[in-house]
């Protein structure tokens, strides 16, 4: 279907306000662009303003003997128990990311080589848990990992008796891995499906064994996708509350639990906000690093440089 008009992309009344308009004039030239203000207003009031308030509170709201502009940050970074919690969170996030990659990479890879029907099924199997309720999914793990639950009976049957799975970081890692697996598979699949598989065929025809071709040709091309998927999982684990709250215990809590405890139990908004901003900064650093590495990596591919 083709429409023959002298199609410039200009709207009917775009010509009316030419010249060097101010921002407001430029926006009002197209009434449709005015539509952006309402959603922006909502985000400003209910998202940006709250974050700014937290930022302020982290420097001004103190409890106990803490004081000084950076008091809350110094308290968090200088308290042993808090640093233990942060280290534990990193350890759990690292394990969860690794487990997700081990389980998710083969799955995402298989999705790129099966037929369309099979792929639809495989996408469905990922999307259903992706959109299922986090609390419900974690609750299911509470039942599975209980001392008298099915997993323990299974372990008992094969002779393992003294492995506690609930109330420690083992349970949190298992649950978080299963909950976050879709967040790795979906971006990884998107990246992997963009890899030209004829390169593998070329490598085969040049005499490379399949395994060698996979490691030397496919995996390097998959690195950006792997980085994207793993960084998302890592970041999400840092901010995880419900899974550690239900599968872990207060004795080995993670940083998100600490934020909730400070704010809703101790009403220490300043301390909670300080922790939150440390987590936020870590999040941005991880995202920034991944972006930087990916860009460098891509560029070195394009220019054909040796890595």
């Amino acid at each position: 279907m083709s429409v023959s008009v002298t199609a410039t992309d200009e709207s009917p009344d775009a010509q009316t306000a030419r010249g060097r308009p101010s921002i407001v004039r430029r926006l009002s030239r197209r009434p449709t662009t005015l539509l952006i203000w309402l959603p922006l207003l909502l985000l400003a009031v209910c998202f940006a303003y709250p974050l700014l308030q937290m930022f302020r509170l982290s420097f001004t709201d103190f409890v106990g003997s803490t004081s000084g502009v950076f008091g809350n940050y110094l308290w968090f970074l200088g308290t042993d128990t808090q640093m233990t919690i942060l280290r534990r969170t990193f350890a759990v996030a690292g394990w969860v990311t690794l487990m997700c990659l081990i389980l998710g990479f083969p799955y995402a890879y298989l999705m790129t080589i099966v037929g369309p029907r099979m792929r639809l099924l495989m996408v469905g199997v990922v999307l259903l848990p992706f959109w299922s309720n986090l609390v419900v999914r974690t609750f299911a793990w509470v039942i599975l990992l209980r001392d008298s639950g099915p997993v323990q009976s299974l372990l008992h049957a094969i002779g393992i008796d003294d492995l506690r799975l609930l109330g420690n970081t083992v349970g949190v890692t298992i649950g978080a891995t299963q909950v976050l697996l879709p967040f790795l598979i979906l971006p990884l699949y998107a990246a992997l499906s963009g890899i030209d598989r004829s390169l593998l065929t070329a490598a085969h025809s040049l005499g490379a064994r399949p395994a060698v071709a996979f490691v030397k040709v496919y995996l390097p091309l998959a690195v950006p996708g792997i980085l994207a998927g793993t960084s998302i999982v890592f970041i999400l684990t840092l901010g995880f509350y419900f899974t550690p709250a239900l599968l872990g215990s207060p004795r080995n809590s993670l940083v998100a639990q600490q934020i909730v405890t400070q704010v809703s139990e101790l009403l220490a908004f300043g301390r909670g906000s300080a922790i939150a901003f440390v987590v936020l900064i870590i999040t941005f650093v991880v995202l920034g690093l991944v972006g930087l590495v990916t860009r460098r990596y891509r560029r070195s591919f394009e220019t054909g440089l040796d890595l």
């Binding site: 430029r26 998710g104 959109w131 609750f139």
Partner: protein
């Protein structure tokens, strides 16, 4: 399209992925048989069957009122987020200039900032506004979180739209609103519907912000489930979980049908 060839390593791969598939779907589905258990325990597999936990769900105000609140909030969020998100997507796609990049980034920011951080901020501000433990507090907070999904879904539709059709309508004398209503809107309707469903699901499943906004007078279904799990052993949790999963599953099927039928066209 090369066809799938079997080899010994492929058999291994498919077997492994089968297990991963089971791991993805299986554990969550355990709540379904558990919701029909006859005894007041989480013993699995159940010894006998009953529907008493569903009866309990629909007669205990703690449960059915939280479910009702979740549905009402979800519907309001679906309307509000879809209208605002569609407006934003249209403005972003028709607008010119350097403001678009930052505006788009700002629209998607609630997706990137960890939920627990957004939650603390919203809680503090809403405490001052007197918006905690109330319908509108949940609606506003969830709309913020749902907005990015609508913007993404509608933007994708608008990018696929042939702009020449709109220009043609203009050249035939249609004013901007008429062209939007009669040309653009019908063509991006699937994107808007997808966005609306995502908005509802986002609100319906949201838990961390709701945890802060909830209280004795108002809590959403996920929070009611969370607090029951930490409080006592009651298979009503399993019944509520099953219904939550069924709702999500239903919406996923609808979304799947929309996507498949759109790709056919």
């Amino acid at each position: 399209m090369n066809t799938f060839k079997w080899s010994s390593s492929r058999v291994l791969l498919v077997g492994f992925c089968g297990l991963v598939g089971v791991l993805l779907m299986g554990p969550t589905l355990i709540v379904v048989p558990l919701s029909f258990t006859s005894e007041k325990s989480f013993r699995f597999p159940p010894e006998g069957w009953s529907t008493q936990w569903y009866e309990n769900f629909f007669t205990d105000p703690n449960w059915y009122e939280s479910a009702l609140l979740s549905v009402r909030v979800g519907l309001a969020v679906a309307v509000l987020a879809t209208v605002l998100g569609t407006a934003a997507a249209v403005a972003l796609s028709t607008g010119r200039g350097a403001w678009r990049g930052p505006a788009n980034g700002f629209m998607l920011a609630p997706m990137i900032v960890p939920g627990v951080i957004t939650a603390v901020g919203i809680y503090y501000v809403f405490l001052n506004f007197g918006l905690t433990q109330g319908f509108w507090g949940f609606v506003l907070a969830h709309t913020v979180l749902a907005l990015p999904f609508v913007v993404v879904a509608v933007s994708a539709s608008l990018n696929g739209l042939d702009k020449a059709l709109v220009t043609a309508a203009w050249s035939l004398g249609a004013n901007r609103w008429a062209a939007f209503r009669q040309i653009t809107l019908p063509l991006i309707a699937p994107g808007i519907l997808t966005g609306a469903l995502f908005a509802f699901l986002t609100s319906f499943d949201e838990a961390i912000v709701s945890l802060f906004l909830s209280g004795p007078f108002a809590r959403t279904l996920p929070i009611q489930i969370f607090q029951s799990v930490t409080a006592d052993i009651d298979p009503t949790i399993a019944a509520a979980s099953t219904m939550l999963l069924a709702t999500t599953g239903f919406f996923m099927v609808v979304l799947g049908v929309i996507t498949v039928s759109r790709n056919r066209r």
